[in-house]
Every structure is written in C-alpha cells, then in structure tokens.
C-alpha cells in the first residue's frame, strides 16, 4: 500500500516537467518548427533559477531569472530558425549543448559541482489540498505538490481552448499546415512561428524551475536527462493534440515513477532500471507509428 501510494505520487511528480514541456511544445510542433531545444530551455531555467536564487536569496528573482534565460534562448532559436531560416534541428541541438556548457563553465568558476539552496525548505513549496488530502491513496497522490504541478494539469484543457478556439491557435496550425495559404491571406507567418516557440519557452521555464528549485532546491548539470526529448516523443505520439500528447506525457511519467520505485528492490541493477523510461518511449513511439500506418500501403519515405 505504501508502495502503491508512493508510485502514484511519483507518477504525478515525474509527469509534471514532461507535461509542461509537452503542452508548450505542441504549438511549435503544429507551427512546423519542431523545437527540440526544449531540453536546453528547461536546463537553463533550472540552472538560472538556482543560480540567481542562490546569489540573491530570493525565490522570486530565481523565477524571474529562469524566465529571462528562456526568453533569451527563445529569441536566439527563433531568430536563427525562423528569421534566418536555419536548420531548426541543428539549432535545437546546439542550444541543448550550449546550455550545459555554460552551466559547466560557471560551476567550474564557482568551484562547485552543483548548486544548492540550504535555506530553502522544499516542503514549504508544496501545497496540501484540504479535503482532497484526506481521501485515502488518491489524496496522497493528488495532494502535496508544488503549485506548478497543479497548474500543469489545469493547462491541459486551457491549451486545448487556446489551440482550437482562438485566432492564435488557428493561425499557428494554419502556418504549419499550409504556410502558403496563410501568407496569401496576409497573415505574417513568421510572427506566429515566433509566438508558437514562445509558448514552448515559457512552459519549459516552468518545467525547469520545477525540476531544480521546487522539488529539491538542487541543481546538477545535465539534470534534465533527456526529459525534453521524451516530451518531443510524447508530442510526436499525440500528433500535437493537447489531450493526446498530454496522455503520452503521463504514460512516460508513470513509467519513470515505476522505474524509480521498483528500482529500490533491484539492488545492484538499480541503474539498469533507469533505462525503463527510455525503452518505454521507444516502444510507445514504435507502436504509435505502426498503428498510424496500419492502412498505409504506399512505399517509400516521403513525408516521414
């Protein structure tokens, strides 16, 4: 029972950053500028929030720094990828390499291997929901998370509305599907690509802060450990629909929670359990692709 409760709580806990990345990333996906730099965006938010909070002693400034850093990266990514028409995959990978390089450089100068906030009590960040926390098992799962976690799950329907019921969402989808059509009606397509990437950057900032400051008040380099890529995989699997992609994000979160909790019993092979989320991701990606193409009889590799 303890184990079940812990698995359930951890599922929500591990889903949060992936879910945030997914909800932000679907817009760039729909706009046709696949943002694989989510990993880097997230890591920079993790790093900057801890760095600035550590230097100033203010959690709020930490948040601000996280967002500022993601905005800078957003501008870099969009300018290079949208305005200058560079290869977004390579730009994304470059940002994913640049962020840990800078973090490593700064950590080296500071002469430390990781950042901590000894004065910050992580427990204070957690919100216990009255009433709900008293429900057995479920209460344990739903209550006691940082605000960001609740926000992340609330965002699923909100992003659905944004994508399907507002001009911004419609235009972003149109830009990705038929840019010519959008341009022929006078839509400034580049602007919507910028905005699509911006939404991803803001969500990745939340995810990054959640990962480092809110959960453990700890930053180690490369702590995002491929979560951005897993989010990309979830977006692929859900084909960019908010509900569908979010569902896959939850699948991956649950996989990680299972791996972590069962890993306690694995003894020396514990590090082997860590590969479960990655393997699950590959399997899910394959299954989705097979199901999607079950009726396809065309040969060849046009359009993926």
């Amino acid at each position: 029972m303890r184990l079940l409760g812990s698995i359930l709580y951890d599922s929500v806990y591990h889903t949060t950053p992936i879910l945030l990345c997914v909800l932000g990333g679907i817009f760039a996906y729909k706009a046709g500028v696949l943002n694989i730099a989510l990993e880097g965006f997230m890591l920079s938010a993790s790093f900057m929030s801890m760095l600035v909070a550590g230097l100033t002693g203010s959690v709020a400034l930490g948040y601000a720094a996280a967002f500022a850093s993601c905005l800078v990266l957003w501008l870099v990514f969009s300018y290079m990828g949208v305005t200058r028409r560079g290869n977004v995959i390579i730009i994304g990978l470059a940002i994913n390499m640049l962020v840990p390089a800078i973090a490593g450089f700064v950590l080296q100068i500071m002469g430390t291997a990781n950042l901590t906030l000894p004065w910050l009590n992580v427990g204070d960040m957690k919100v216990n929901l009255p009433l709900i926390r008293d429900i057995p098992v479920l209460g344990n799962m739903l209550s006691g998370h940082p605000v960001t976690t609740y926000l992340a799950f609330l965002m699923i329907p909100l992003m659905g509305v944004l994508m399907y019921r507002t001009r911004l969402g419609v235009y972003i989808r149109v830009v990705g599907e038929n840019e010519d059509a959008a341009r022929s009606l006078g839509l400034r397509t580049d602007r919507y690509k910028y905005l699509a990437v911006l939404i991803g950057a803001l969500f990745a900032a939340f995810a990054g802060v959640n990962l480092s400051m809110e959960r453990m008040a700890l930053f180690t380099n490369n702590m995002t450990a491929g979560r951005g890529f897993i989010a990309i995989a979830a977006i692929y699997c859900g084909r960019g629909s908010p509900a569908g992609s979010a569902m896959y994000a939850i699948v991956f979160g649950v996989a990680r929670a299972l791996a972590v909790n069962l890993g306690l019993f694995a003894g020396p092979a514990a590090s082997l359990i860590d590969i479960v989320p990655y393997v699950v991701m590959t399997l899910v990606l394959t299954m989705v692709s097979v199901v999607k193409r079950r009726n396809n009889r065309l040969r060849g590799f046009v359009g993926g």
Partner: protein
C-alpha cells in the same frame, strides 16, 4: 557539384568559427582573463609545434571517424544522433575484448577488438535503423533518447559485472598489451591514426564513386525519386545506418586501444566524441576534405583546452561553449547577402521552370 562556389562556401564555414571565438573572447574577458593569450596557448601549442601537431592528429583520429559517421547520414537526410551511444558501446566492448581475450598475437587481437567494437556499433545502430525502415519511427528522437539508455547500461556494466576490483574509481580492466596501440616516437600518435585515415579514404571512395554513394545522395535529395527508380530506400537506410554505426564503433575502439585503455564513466569526455562529430560534419559542409580539416582543427582546440587549464585561469569548459556556439552559427547560412543573391536567382529560375511547365 558545380565549381566556382568555393568562396562563399568557405566563408560560410569560417565566419561561424570566428563569431564563436569572438563570443568566447568576450566571456574570457568577463572573467578577467586575456582572450588572446588563452587562444594563443590553446591553438599555438597544438598546431605550431611538431609534437603538439602530432598529438593533435592523434586526437583527430576518432573525431574524423565520428564526423564521417554523421556526415554520411546527413547526406541521406537521416539524423543519426546516436553516434555517441554507438561509439560508447563499441568502445566498451572493444575494451572488454582487449582485456579478457587471451590472444597472444598483437595484430589478431587488435583485429578481434575492432570486429567486436564495430559489431557493437552496428548492432546499436540497428535499433533505430530497423524501426525507421520498417515502422517509419523518427530516427532522430529514437537515437537521442537511446543514447541516455546506453549510458545507463554501460554505467551498470562498468560498476557491476566488469568493474576492475582493485581500482579506487569506476573503471573496467586495462586492455592487454597485445591489444594496445603503441606511440610512434615521442608524441602520442599511434598507428590508429593511419587506420582512421584509411577508413576515411575508403568511405570517401564509396560516397563519391560507387552505386551505394550515388543512391544515398539520391535518397537525400529526393526520396520519392529514389524509391520510384528502384533504390529500395528502406534497405539503403539500414545499410547506411550500419555504415554509420560501424564508423562510430571504429572510433570508439580506436580511442579505447590507443588512448584510454579502459572504460571510465567519462570515457568520451564532455560533450562527447559523438557530439564533436556533429560539429565536424557541419563544419566540413559535407565535403570529405572539409571534414578532414575540421577534425584536425577541432582536435587542436580540444588538446589546446588542456593547455589552457595548465597555463591560465580560464576553465577548459570554455571549449564546450565555443563548440556549441559554432554549431549554432553553422546552422545558418551566413553570407545571406551574396549567397542569398545566388539563392534568389536560383529561386527565380525555379519560378521560371514553373512558369514553363504551366
């Protein structure tokens, strides 16, 4: 490839490098050091002294191979981002073979290690390759995430079953003498450099002169055409990924047998030889000679990084920063004004062709 575009092409490779170094210089200034001095130490020793240059060539060997491993897949518009994982996997088991196989003959032992290392590289590349070829799974996402899985697997193997018992840190046993490449003369360079060069020339020949190279180029430029003229694109993707994985495995094996001799958790460094390969493939702009130059240049940078740590207060992590900036700038065609003019003329020609077909 038509002639006469060398100027802008070269500049498009050189400008991002200069820009990245420029930003790196600002960073060095910010921490109160002299960038010129740092760069001087970094590049001077590794390029301008004979011994330094030979060391540079030594470190260039695996980079040349990983650069090639990525460049060949770029050619077909396939993104094998798993070169890092393939290299680690190949290197690890080449090291195991080198340490455990009691083969007395040095040549045979090395050949066996290469076979194991390249085989492992191919094996690991087959997962994304088969998924791509038969299930149309995006190879980029799969290779990116499987890298993490591979690192974890090797972490388990090197801390568990294959850990060297007497060592104070996590590592596998040192390879036997018969598997080691020995230094030639006083520098670090070994015969492996020539193995790498040989592989490089062979791949160059395959890409330029053979049917396979031709088909790979066609797949990259127009996959529909390639399929319609009977090139069996899915099979070629598997062959190509196998080639890429073999090159990565070769790089890992060579690095193991000529430099590291045992697997440690930081075997491939940070950001890893596979990632360096991507920079080299981009810098070389898909031309073999370009890849060779880029590998040597980048190797000079990396060996220089150690000198920087020794002689100045600049952390050697600056190299990783400069490297990722280079990749970032290389993603964009810089000479937009001149190059863009050419491109625009081409587009017009395209529009004309359009007009004619209507």
């Amino acid at each position: 490839m038509s002639k006469g575009k060398w100027g802008p092409k070269m500049l498009n490779s050189i400008l991002p490098v200069l820009l990245a170094f420029g930003i790196g210089a600002i960073v060095i200034l910010l921490i109160g050091e002299d960038p010129l001095e740092a760069y001087g130490i970094m590049l001077g020793k590794s390029l301008l002294t004979t011994k330094g240059f030979l060391n540079t060539l030594h470190y260039a060997a695996p980079l040349l191979l990983t650069g090639l491993a990525i460049a060949v897949t770029f050619k077909a518009n396939i993104f094998n981002m798993g070169v890092e994982g393939q290299l680690l996997f190949g290197g690890f088991f080449a090291g195991i073979a080198g340490a455990y196989l009691p083969v007395g003959d040095p040549l045979l032992h090395k050949l066996l290690c290469f076979a194991v290392g390249m085989g492992c590289g191919v094996l690991f590349a087959m997962i994304p390759a088969l998924l791509k070829a038969y299930c149309h799974v995006d190879e980029m996402v799969v290779t990116l995430t499987l890298n993490y899985a591979m690192i974890k697997v090797l972490e388990y193997l090197s801390t568990g079953p294959f850990r060297e018992a007497g060592s104070g840190y996590v590592c596998t046993p040192t390879v036997l003498d018969s598997a080691m490449f020995y230094r030639l003369g006083s520098s670090r360079i070994t015969a492996f450099f020539f193995v790498a060069l040989g592989a490089f020339l062979l791949v160059w020949f395959v890409m330029r002169r053979t049917r396979l190279g031709y088909e790979i180029t066609a797949i990259g430029k127009n996959p529909e055409f390639a399929e319609a003229t009977g090139m069996r694109v899915h099979r070629k993707i598997i062959v190509l990924m196998a080639l890429s994985g073999a090159l990565a495995g070769l790089a890992g094996t060579g690095f193991m047998l000529s430099e590291k001799f045992k697997y440690t958790l930081s075997f491939s460094g940070n950001p890893g030889l596979g990632w360096d390969g991507m920079l080299i493939a981009l810098l070389g702009r898909h031309s073999p000679a370009g890849i060779l130059i880029a590998a040597v240049f980048y190797s000079a940078l990396k060996t220089g990084a150690d000198n920087i740590n020794m002689y100045t207060h600049v952390p050697k992590e600056i190299v990783a920063v400069i490297q990722s900036l280079m990749i970032l700038f290389l993603a964009v065609q810089f000479l937009d004004e001149r190059y863009g003019l050419l491109a625009r003329l081409k587009a017009r020609k395209g529009a004309k062709a359009d007009a004619i077909t209507r």
